[in-house]
Amino acid sequence: MSHASTLQVLGRDTPRQDGVAKVTGREKYASDMSLPGMLVARVLKSPHPHARVKSIDTRGVSDPQAVTLTPQEVPGIRFCPRLVSTPEATYKDWRVLTDKPRYVGEPVAAVAAESEEAAQRALEAMRVEYEPLAAVYDAFASMEEGAEPIHDVIELNDQALKVERNVACQMEAREGDPEEGFKAAAHVVERTYRTSRRYHAQLETKSVLVRPEPGGGVTIWSTTQTLHNTRILIHEIFGIPMGRIRVVKVPLGGSFGSSIQVNTVVPIAVALALKSRRPVKLSLTREEDLHDHCSYQMVFRLKLGADSDGKLVAGHLDAWLDIGGHQVQAYPLLGCVVGWWVSLYRLPHKSYVGKAVYTNKVPSCAFRGYGNPQITWAVETLMDELAEKAGVDPLDFRLMNYIGKGDLFWGQGPTVKSIIQSCGVEEILSRGSEMIDWYNRPKAGSQRGRYRRGVGMGRGYHTSSAGAPVPGTVVDFGGAMVKLNEDGTFDYVSAMMDHGGGTMDANAKIVAEELGVPIHKVNIVNADTGTTVYDVCTHASRGIYSGGGAALKVARQVKDKIRENAARLLDAYPHALKFRYDPERDQAVIYAEGVSGRELTFKELAYAMRHKNLGTVAAVDSYRQPSCPPHFTGYFVEVEVDTWTGRVRPLRVVAGADIGTVINPKLAAGQVHGGFAQGWSMVVNEDLPHDPATGDLLNRGFLADYKVPTTRDMPNLDDFTVFFTDTYEPTGPFGAKGIGEGALNPVAGAVANAVQNALGVRFYDLPITKDMILAAVGGKEGQA
């Protein structure tokens, strides 16, 4: 690893700082927290997919300690729970409690009482009268004339916006002349693809604890990916001055995008705490959580054309997003879908029409990859078909057309463009194909018999953050503070959240690397909105690239201050001073080379500065990254399909990732392992269908009927290989890029292509269930 050779801290496995708390059960998640005198809240949810609330009667609640909350008692503000876009890209259609529920499970009222049992009793004593309205569960039916309007008026850029035909928002994009492009194409394939609604199944359900403070403020501990946006939204809804809203960082029991937005439970609990003047805890049950969020279900009509040499010439994409009852981030997603698509392969001519459509279903929100796993599955499936048509090996076809170093890249949408400066695609594909013996894989459909094996590949990427050289419609910057403590250690403080991937540890390591100290000298400080500068959110795989970028920027400033202060104390020139680490003293040392006695350990420096009243060496700053470099990934997967039961098993996985400099090898590989598990399950299992008879989820919110992979559903250790390419991102901290979402995005395509290779049958709907496999195989060749 040529780039890594000079690194001292990065690239080595180091124990995570929150590890001890997590393995001893002492880590307190939001759902674990409690306060003296606390009330426990329950939400009253709509049993109707679409209705008007005619009345709410709370007189049956006999518990004198119970505090109820109805739509009339909350601020009548329309808001968007996700604050990552500029106002012209932020559509607002949510309320704290609704009097017009638009999906089964939407919060209509709430109650807090002395215990969960008491709150449950109080909840059941409330009476709500509804006027049911017609409901629609399909995006295309929803757009038809005469369909019941789900929203009449919403807000955009703080202006009223009339909703037509239940289309929440739309976007078009065009470059070149696609019609002419397709005319020139020797090979064209057009297909329609349908994805499913997936549930994040983050292990901790959405939870919040709110304590009202003297003077009208609140302190909030919640499952969130963003402290500062939580504070801003609570300020916007309740008008509490921001200084009196303190949002405290607590560890997240998984998120995967489900808490990019401020969770529905947060403003409800704030309202209850303000009303009751007591701390209020609101932690969803799993069945409530399943009624709270899911991924975006998408339908794509995708058309690609290639010339006779196998070069892509034109593409067209129609995308329909079924977003459920509310918008969380549908408009930015329309931009990302086209961005993800056009940044995979070079398309001189291309056009795109995207529509996001309301339905009376659980609202969709970001789910790891933010549409990228869906569109990459469609593209990677179609690339295989087009390669076959063009008579080119699918791997070679990708190598001929991929977007890489030096190419223009706009993964995060049309307003977020930059040039790619590092790329490991070729290394991923060449090493991966060797390991899986790609060119000797079975010929598609050549096998008979019960068990059939297939090898497939898929490649893709995700952006590392949403940065760019110029502002767009996406907010993306962060910040950090680093200070030198009096014992020569450093405190690293940031509002950035760690979802579990080790983001904060990685960034602490970047600080340690820059300051030339071992990782145990950099302490990750728990933080809140009052002690940190703004960080937008941990999403878009930006934790290391942006968060680490901010940490590095600040660490450099701290280093300069150490230099300046040491120069003064040592009577030396600052720029001539050097740094080394002395393991015997376990201290970093700053010294003038060759001059005996002119050295100070960091501890001595801090000590002297304190006694000479020179102040604390510290720096705090914001950081906006100049780009959002793609981290590239590729998967080669071998599957076995049992044509008697329709079961598909993963036999072998080879995954390559270009994440620039690797900071924590085991945790980075862990992202890939977890990404594979989610992508695998996306293909073979996961879907959250609604029951058209009731509008409720068919599984009624229970995990018994939303299956995620277990230990036994994954390949054996020896059959799962992860490798990282030797790449260096010039704009990243010590050359690093992201990994979180790229680890997932190409999996579905690779798995689906492997199934096709095994059976000779291609599927255009996800998930590819065992039912579908038996139907396809049986229909084709019976019990062979």
């Binding site: 009253l44 019960r450 329709g646 068919l698 009624r700 038996l774």
Partner: protein
């Protein structure tokens, strides 16, 4: 109040009185005295149902303190298993492993280690789920269910014990005390297979087969399937057809076709009726092949 607001899996949102009898007689009395009483052992089926408010019993009668309901006993030609014996204890019993390998496979297939540490064989049966793997094993082994009630004790064949999804032939005040399982002879081959969506799932479809063989011919056959009918389903027509036949690939194929045609599955969230019919064919082929001692993993 609608179901969505009544269910709460954080707690058991139902109040009940709790009883801990120490004899079967006491338990029967309690069950008889309280029509809204439910027996509880492991609670792995009952507690979730109460959290969902599908059941709201006013009394729970804990059976786990009743010693006579516990344990596995080798009685020579048969094995007796107390109803409140935990599934893990059944699975760990050397007697079961050695003498009832089919039941061992079925029990191992139930839930996770944690679930089997809690759940009991009696619970798996009395829950009367058509998907219960333990119940399927007992049906395929032609076990006898021992019942105690206000009128004394009686026995019911496992195959006759179920009256529909969640329904058994137990009357008021009756409870299952144990199972008598005939031990198949050395000439009997058995096989259990189930298919789920993941490795931890209620069976989408399951099959248990027992074949008594002589030479290459079937002397006696038992074929039972789970999740294909309102109760665990025996298929006598297939069993009778197999009787006396030479077990070869053609026989297996034809019998599997009869299995596929003989079940009456429905479509639910776990799988379609068509799927179950088609999968039943392949699973029957595998189960008959393995139980009959033909090639282990046939390539069809």
């Amino acid at each position: 109040m609608s179901a969505i607001n009544r269910q709460n899996t954080h707690i058991i949102p139902v109040d009940f009185q709790y009883h801990q009898p120490e004899t079967v007689g006491e338990a029967v009395k309690l069950l008889e005295a309280h029509p809204d009483a439910k027996p509880i052992a492991g609670g792995t089926d009952l507690v979730p149902k109460m959290k969902q408010r599908l059941l709201e019993p006013g009394h729970l009668v804990n059976l786990k303190r009743i010693r006579e309901l516990q344990g596995v006993e080798d009685r020579g030609g048969e094995v007796y298993i107390g109803a409140a014996t935990k599934l893990r204890a059944v699975e760990r019993s050397e007697t079961v492993q050695r003498r009832l390998p089919l039941l061992y496979s079925c029990v191992r297939s139930i839930g996770s280690v944690q679930i089997r540490n809690m759940g009991t064989l009696g619970g798996n049966v009395c829950n009367a789920s058509p998907a219960a793997d333990g119940a399927l094993g007992l049906v395929a082994l032609d076990a006898t269910v021992q019942v105690a009630g206000p009128g004394g004790t009686r026995t019911v064949k496992a195959g006759d014990f179920f009256a529909g999804p969640g329904k058994t032939v137990l009357g008021r005040g009756e409870l299952v005390t144990g199972f008598t399982v005939p031990v198949p002879g050395p000439d009997v081959g058995t096989c259990f297979i189930s298919v789920g969506r993941t490795a931890l799932d209620i069976s989408t479809i399951s099959i248990a087969v027992a074949l008594r063989m002589k030479g290459g011919a079937v002397q006696e056959a038992r074929v039972a399937l789970g999740s294909v009918a309102p109760t665990p389903l025996r298929l006598p027509e297939v069993e009778n057809w197999l009787k006396g036949r030479e077990l070869d690939e053609a026989t297996v194929r034809e019998a599997a076709g009869m299995v596929s045609g003989g079940i009456k599955p429905i479509t639910d969230i776990r799988g379609t009726a068509e799927y179950r019919r088609e999968a039943a064919r392949g699973m029957a082929m595998e189960a008959l092949t393995r139980a009959g001692g033909l090639e282990g993993r046939s390539q069809g």
